[in-house]
Symmetry: C2
Subunit: 420 residues, 2 copies
Amino acid sequence: MTIITETTNVKKQAMAAQKAAKTLTLLSTEQKNEALHIIADTLIENSQYILDANAKDLERGKEKGFDAAFMDRLALTEDRIKDFANGLRDVSDLEDPTKNIVSDWTLENGLQVQKVTVPLGVIGMIYEARPNVTVDATGLALKSGNAIVLKGGSNAITSNKAIVDVMHSALEKTDIPKDAVQFINTTAREATQELFTMKEHIDVLIPRGGGALINAVVNNATVPVLETGVGNCHIYIDKEADIEKALNILINAKTDRPAVCNAAETVIIHEDWFNKHKDTFLTKMEEFNITLHGDDTLVKAVPSAKKAEEEDWANEYLSLDLAVRVVGSLEEAADHIDQYGTKHSEAIITENAETARMFMLLVDAAALYHNASTRFTDGGALGFGAEIGISTQKLHARGPMGLPALTTVKYLMHGTGQVR
Amino acid sequence: MTIITETTNVKKQAMAAQKAAKTLTLLSTEQKNEALHIIADTLIENSQYILDANAKDLERGKEKGFDAAFMDRLALTEDRIKDFANGLRDVSDLEDPTKNIVSDWTLENGLQVQKVTVPLGVIGMIYEARPNVTVDATGLALKSGNAIVLKGGSNAITSNKAIVDVMHSALEKTDIPKDAVQFINTTAREATQELFTMKEHIDVLIPRGGGALINAVVNNATVPVLETGVGNCHIYIDKEADIEKALNILINAKTDRPAVCNAAETVIIHEDWFNKHKDTFLTKMEEFNITLHGDDTLVKAVPSAKKAEEEDWANEYLSLDLAVRVVGSLEEAADHIDQYGTKHSEAIITENAETARMFMLLVDAAALYHNASTRFTDGGALGFGAEIGISTQKLHARGPMGLPALTTVKYLMHGTGQVR
């Protein structure tokens, strides 16, 4: 019984979102921006309501014994809610990605063709226990003229529900229909499963979270998916690498924020460079408390280092651990990255421009760096404004996805009776 | 035993294609164009070899009692093989869609960012018994720097195998590795199933064929899919439609080539127009031998007309049948198209520009026509050159897909040691 009721509700919600998406298509940029400001103000006005709800999630989280990092992501404060509001205001300042004429031409018979950007329609957002995604994703969806169906992690459900309540009350003061933001208020797995296959009513699913969540969506969804985020990123130190650049970049990519997807997880070192700079390299790693998991060559040089197992090469450590592989050539490095990389961000450190060019041709990833840290793969750092995620797939959008990734096109043809 | 052997072969073939794709990335436009010309010449030189193989498929087809249309699509002639060759030469004349700098900018810290088009990698082409797809898809894949894995319909397997044999012998005279073109030489369903899930080695699946084939791919694939082609297209005749334009366009969209996806399947008529022009409309339909399947209003006006059942509205007739619905408003027409359309091509006939604008905003489809026939949704007609299919999905590519649809992007970052 429960399953059937919930199933029906999810479908009803998706259909309501689809209907609201039609209205959104008709709104001006100004109407959408005004709504974002009203939502921002309303969130701040209702901070206490949200914090009270968040306290319940935190209490449950404590009982369940979640770790500090998890609790930190879950926890809201007045300042964090102010950040949510400022994020929405920033999105209102971004260019409207819809109604752009990508190209236009006239056929010989006089038929006028316009290729115009339009919203995708309904976005299904599936994410973990991070209440910020509830606001960020809604802001980006609405600005790009899309309705959104939100399915957040069960451990943040009370916070998310409160945030959506507040956003709904805000929407009543705007031209955007309340139904444009749908919140799946259940922890039932069946609801998620239904979202996966609701092709008629949901245009795209965007999973945000760890590898397990993303794989669950990719493997079970018939709705098209914009895959985001898992980053097993490599730094390749070429034989012609400058030692200062190499170590600075590696330390930055590994230690600046180890838990993010654009952090480095493996360093691949050309044997010539390794033999020459081994001692300096090892001292630097020790200085930054980096735990090495090395291949045979490294372990021979540093008997105290851990031996890398097969899983180390594939692992997104998200910690101060680093896998180390010593290779004999660029091709060997590229093959390693092909085998274990997640097509996110890959860097080469070398003073040889031709070697860098070959690396960029051979390695298949969203972002390729020559003498710079992988940490720049980020919508904010690259100047895209807010991002809905970082795409590690090749279709539709690759790398950091800003507002344009939430649009598609229509061909609009104006004629005077043309036939073939 | 059989299954295991075949499974292993498919994976081996996909991996070989992936390796060949690396080499393709390194080739110049001239090297790719030269290869296309060599393949074209070699196909013509070996016409008889291909025709002999085709004779066997035709014989088997006759035994199986396939209809005339099926046999016609399967049958090859010297002229058709010449067409294949000319198609490849035409593709060589198209602009190379890779290595284009989409945008480039420099961050404040001096990091140079380039967004550059690159091949997708390995394309999996799944199609029915049309040997022309074997050549057309290969030409488009190679020109855009992609390797291709071909899985054609079992009823054309002997013809397809012969075509690929000839293409392979041609490739030996080019800089493109033979492995860039893989032919799945089995009719085993397991092979197809394996292609569906080979995410590590195949970057995109493109199904070409009827609704059943396309649905099988969409519902079973974990590899991203570029969905093509089912077209349940509508012509909406508004109350302010010019009678001559309306009838010319409808007749063209229905009768010019009824079996193609951009043909019209349903006409939706505003009741005011219907009441005024009913007789002329019906005379015209009779003149062109169009069989009407009407709603209550139509059947009342034409007692001899068939009554439309629910399935008529959803049907892609691909024949001289036409469903007829009479409505009271634009919104009603748009709702009908929402419910039954396939988001391919939809037309409105009206002299009122504002009504046309609303139709184009409200109706969700790849191509929207005002006073023109839906038949123009075609890569050739729109000036894209050859097309790999017509996308009816919203992600990555929408409408006719030319060479750019077979590319993705890489961000290339050139630094001097930048860190965050």
